[in-house]
Amino acid sequence: MPPIPAIDELSVTLAHYLIVSGVIFGIGVVIALAKRNAVAVLMGVELMLNAVNLTLLAFSRFSSAFPAGEEPLTGHAFVVFVLTVAAAEAAIALALAVLVYRRRETVDLDRVNLLRW
């Protein structure tokens, strides 16, 4: 039976956060590109944005590694702006989706195809 590792060997490092956020970003990209429903695409985009937030927070949290030594709150501030903009974007996106649905009775992107080639 292997010895139980010490606590600090178990600690979560920057790399862990980056891997998790990278995986979430990848899942978001796949959803955004593969789903045909406009609302599902939006959910993919939200995943991508939240992966970005996680990355920013992780970098900010482990800022002692920074060469320039910026005050560690910059990343946190960035996240607040990203959240705000994402909310505004989602509001407009849903309004446009409702507009398309009213006119076409569908938000399936394969059937919203008046404009093609």
């Binding site: 695409v41 970005v52 990355t55 320039a68 990203v82 903009v85 996106a93 507009l99 404009l115």
Partner: protein, 487 residues
């Protein structure tokens, strides 16, 4: 710095933001379409005046703790953006008189143009992102504002692709922040210039993501898929605004980030991103031109043509990175002439659609007999897009290709050769359209005149194209002085 100085630095953008609110208020109080239209024009003129005042006073430096910077570069690009906003509003008079929600449209356009001015002034990643998204979100609504099937679809598609592009751009920003430890562009530049070889791969990863995000704004391949759909589907004034102002802002901010932020043409990663933009330029020219060959709809053709033109400008971006000093001024000069050229073409197409109710190129037969002004201006603009002397498009192409060759690298010479071949291909569809207008007989004897403001815009655009084609010195000097302040 005093509060008044901060306000002076952001003046042009603030004028448009305040103006947007006033336009909405005027619509509520006066309720007259002509009044809101005139007010929007006055607001943009006010922004232009403030911009000119900054230029004359030689305003330069950072404001808001280094979040924004005013220099000749930002003043030059702001001028381009506001001039196109003014022309778009002026030419949209007739369309606005039919639109449900005209004041909202004007307010959104003012907000969008104001944020673009802020975008080219931004000096850190956070300001840049917020300005970029403000201008984008206003454009999404504008694309869908006509509420027809096509307009709604264009708005939704523009938004979905835009949201994905913004997320990708942000991921690049997050890594740039993580690697360099700062969000300010001069700070990042300092870090990159210190030459951290071990960070080469993460840096390349970051700027590939960033290039993808900006590539969407600039409509360069392979991030161009939205452009033909949105240019065809959205209302004509929106399409003309996107094709000119949005593209100019996209290229300007890419110049700012890659030239100022990533330390210009003499850093250890310069060659990498030069190659990246070279590849994007080649893809854009090939995709844009082959796509345009197949089009029968005028606006869709202009959409593909704008992708190909973005490829031409991206040649200048590649030359920038390869250490050519002519690169940035070439990009700026091209953008300046492109405003007159592309806006003229779009407004002419809009005028034809208003009067004849068609956007199919075969219906342009005999346009010279129907409306000599519209046909003449459209012909001049198409010749300029092809790059035939004595139009501005010729000088702009020569300047940019010359800058790329001056960088003295084999692959850039190859890129220019590809660009020249593509110019020949593009001549086929541009000149075919011109021939249709001049030589074919019209189907009926209907003649027409565009509305007064539209005629004025058409006339000024044609004069601009010919003037910058025959006497480009003034604009070239301005572009060079603007480019000097980038580093």
């Amino acid at each position: 710095m005093t509060l008044a100085e901060h306000i002076h630095y952001m003046g042009p953008a603030l004028t448009l933001f305040v103006g947007a609110a006033l336009v909405l208020l005027a619509d509520l109080v006066l309720g007259r379409r002509a009044a809101t239209w005139g007010m929007a024009l006055v607001v943009v003129a006010g922004g232009l005046a403030w911009n000119a005042a900054q230029a004359l006073a030689g305003t330069s430096g950072e404001a808001l703790s280094g979040s924004i910077v005013v220099d000749r570069f930002s003043i030059f690009v702001t001028f381009i953006i506001f001039v196109s906003a003014f022309a778009v509003i002026a030419a949209a008079r007739e369309w606005l008189s039919r639109l449900d929600g005209d004041a909202e449209f004007l307010a959104l356009l003012l907000i969008s143009a104001g944020s673009m001015a802020l975008l080219v002034q931004s000096n850190d990643l956070i300001t840049l992102f917020v300005a970029l998204e403000t201008t984008s979100i206003a454009q999404f609504i504008m694309a869908g504002i006509a509420k027809t099937d096509k307009s709604a679809e264009a708005g939704l598609k523009y938004l979905l692709t835009g949201a994905v592009a913004a997320a990708v751009l942000l991921y690049g920003f997050a890594f740039l922040f993580g690697i360099s430890g700062t969000v300010s562009l001069p700070g990042i530049a300092e870090f990159v210039r210190s030459g951290p070889e071990s960070q080469r791969l993460p840096l390349i990863l970051a700027f590939v993501f960033i290039a993808a995000g900006f590539g969407y704004k600039m409509a360069i391949a392979p991030f161009h898929a939205w452009a033909p759909d949105v240019y065809e589907g959205s209302p004509a004034p929106v399409a003309s605004f996107l094709s000119v102002a949005s593209k100019a802002a996209g290229f300007a901010v890419a110049l700012r980030v890659f030239y100022t932020g990533l330390g210009g043409g003499d850093t250890f990663i310069a060659q990498d991103w030069a190659m990246l933009f070279g590849a994007l330029a080649a893809l854009s020219m090939v995709f844009g031109n082959t796509g345009a060959l197949l089009q029968t709809n005028a606006r869709r053709l202009l959409g593909y043509s704008s992708i190909a033109q973005a490829g031409n400008i991206a040649v200048g971006l590649a030359a920038v990175a390869a250490g050519s000093t002519m690169g940035p001024s070439g990009v700026l000069f091209f953008l300046g002439t492109y405003v007159a050229t592309n806006l003229g073409a779009f407004v002419a197409v809009t005028a034809v659609a208003e009067r004849l109710g068609t956007e199919e190129i075969e219906d342009y037969a005999g346009l010279m007999k129907r409306s000599p002004l519209t046909g003449g201006v459209l012909s001049i603009c198409l010749l300029s897009l092809t790059g035939i002397p004595p139009t501005a498009g010729f000088i702009a192409k020569v300047y940019i290709f010359n800058g790329a060759i001056a960088a003295d690298q084999m692959w850039l010479v190859g890129l220019v050769a590809l660009a020249v071949v593509n110019t020949a291909i593009s001549a086929f569809y541009y000149l075919r359209w011109v021939r249709t207008m001049w030589l074919d007989d019209p189907k009926d004897a209907v003649t027409f005149r565009p509305a007064g403001p539209t005629q004025a815009v058409l006339f000024v655009a044609a004069v601009g194209v010919l003037f910058f084609g025959m006497a480009p010195t003034w604009l070239i000097t301005a572009a060079q002085r603007a480019a000097e302040t980038l580093l």
